[in-house]
């Protein structure tokens, strides 16, 4: 996914001019994210086609994008229908893709270890950004920052009940 995000932002691809995308994924992605035509926002999370289209078109896959509206966005629907997946049992949680444009040019990529894997970890800043986006759905900004600070020195906290206050 982050491979497609990067391609989407870096190469500035005109997604309307994409003819076909071949995507090879591993067994977990293909069984856990197998909804071909998602209609509801939550179904988007379990659709490798929607996820790949979103990554490519918008350059970021974040929680607030799993809405009914986004899943049914005609631009994303058109794009995801151009994506053809194939199972490669040896690929694990990695991915391989080939994007063919209308003019015949091809963009290829391979990622052995997905972002977040211990061999390709989130940076502290990326981890904090994920936390802010997730916790920020229910907590005020000041509480979110206090939690980041408190958990950063968790071993020094004498009573874990302090985290909840």
């Amino acid at each position: 996914m982050n491979l497609l995000e990067e391609i989407g932002t870096r190469k500035n691809l005109d997604i309307e001019r994409i003819e076909k995308i071949d995507l090879e994924i591993g067994p977990v992605a293909s069984t856990a994210a197998s909804i071909k035509e998602p209609r509801k926002g939550v179904e988007g999370k379990f659709s490798v086609w929607f996820l790949a289209a979103l990554a490519l078109a918008e350059g970021s896959v974040t929680l607030e994008k799993f809405t009914d509206e986004k899943v049914n966005d005609p631009r994303l629907v058109r794009l995801r229908r151009k994506i053809h997946t194939r199972l490669d049992p040896r690929i694990g949680f990695g991915a391989r893709f080939c994007i063919r444009m209308a003019d015949g040019t091809e963009h290829k990529g391979f990622l052995a270890k997905p972002k977040g894997d211990p061999d390709n970890p989130l940076t502290p800043e990326e981890l904090n950004r994920k936390f802010r986006s997730a916790a920020g759905m229910v907590l005020r900004e000041e509480r979110v920052e206090r939690l980041i600070e408190a958990i950063g020195r968790l071993e020094a906290i004498p009573d874990v009940n302090q985290l909840a206050s």
Partner: protein, 267 residues
């Protein structure tokens, strides 16, 4: 081989000071990530259902339900936070076993740490040991176990939650072995439930089992001493291709929390 006992000895003998700083750092990252994902999980439709359940049946207020003012007994808090923490499927996982380790271990450990007013060092040591134990048990169950349809978060995960709570309660080896005996017979959970609320239920279930198994043990409840390796135990019943040796391999030298992947995307 007394695998269950050796695993229990490791849990009992390891102190916070024995754990390398890099391992503690990774555990803090996993804890932060779990907190964020669980807070966001309170917006999932599953959250009001478990909170209503806890309001109706929960006991005395000794531990909190995340993102709310609700306080209840440790076992109920562990259950609710377990379900809520895995609701979005945005929490960390171990690649090879596909165990959602923090989701399985943290809720029970946090609830008991709150109940007993323990500190961050205790919480982190229990979490690191719990995660280590559940991944080791998951590796022992082998690929076949997951492929057959078992959800390892729900089967191996129960050993992690139980190890963590046993550590917090200061159990000796016999008591830890006994608690494994109680949790091990509850090792269940099918992948048929994926895509429904019953998938995150598994994280709640193992969290609850961790608290239940340890507090029953404290009361004198008996259980077998060899639930992992026994003739009718975990490895002989729940898989066709067990790997008993991998469970104890590099114990205390390789820390499996280091192998957890933190998800950048909510899938």
């Amino acid at each position: 081989m007394e695998t269950t006992r050796k695993l229990a000895e490791f849990v009992c003998d390891t102190r916070f000071a024995d754990i390398p700083p890099a391992v503690v750092q990774k555990a803090k990252e996993c804890f932060l990530d779990w907190q964020g994902v669980a807070l966001a999980g309170t917006t999932d439709p599953v959250a009001p259902i478990v909170m209503d359940y806890v309001r109706a049946f929960g006991g005395r207020p000794e531990a909190g339900v995340i993102g709310s003012d609700l306080r209840t007994d440790a076992a109920s808090a562990a259950f609710a936070n377990g379900v809520i923490g895995h609701a979005l499927d945005f929490d960390d996982y171990h690649d090879e076993t596909v165990i959602h380790a923090s989701a399985a271990c943290i809720p029970a450990i946090l609830a008991v740490a709150e109940r007993n007013r323990l500190g961050g060092e205790d919480l982190l040591a229990a979490m690191i040991l719990g995660i280590d134990v559940c991944i080791r048990v998951g590796l022992g169950l082998g690929d076949y176990h997951y492929q057959r349809g078992w959800h390892t978060t729900a089967t191996a995960g129960t050993f992690g939650a139980t190890a963590g709570v046993a550590k917090l309660l200061g159990f000796d080896v016999d008591r830890t072995v006994n608690a494994f005996g109680i949790c091990g017979t509850q090792a269940a959970g099918l992948r048929q439930v994926f895509g429904t609320m019953t998938k995150p239920f598994h994280a709640g279930k193992v969290s609850h089992e961790g608290v239940l198994s340890c507090f029953l043990t404290r009361g004198g409840f008996t259980a077998p001493a060899n639930i992992i390796e026994g003739e009718l135990g975990l490895l002989n019943v729940l898989t066709d291709a067990p790997d008993e040796a991998v469970i104890l391999r590099d114990l205390g030298a390789h820390w499996y929390v280091m192998d957890l992947s933190i998800k950048p995307y909510p899938t």
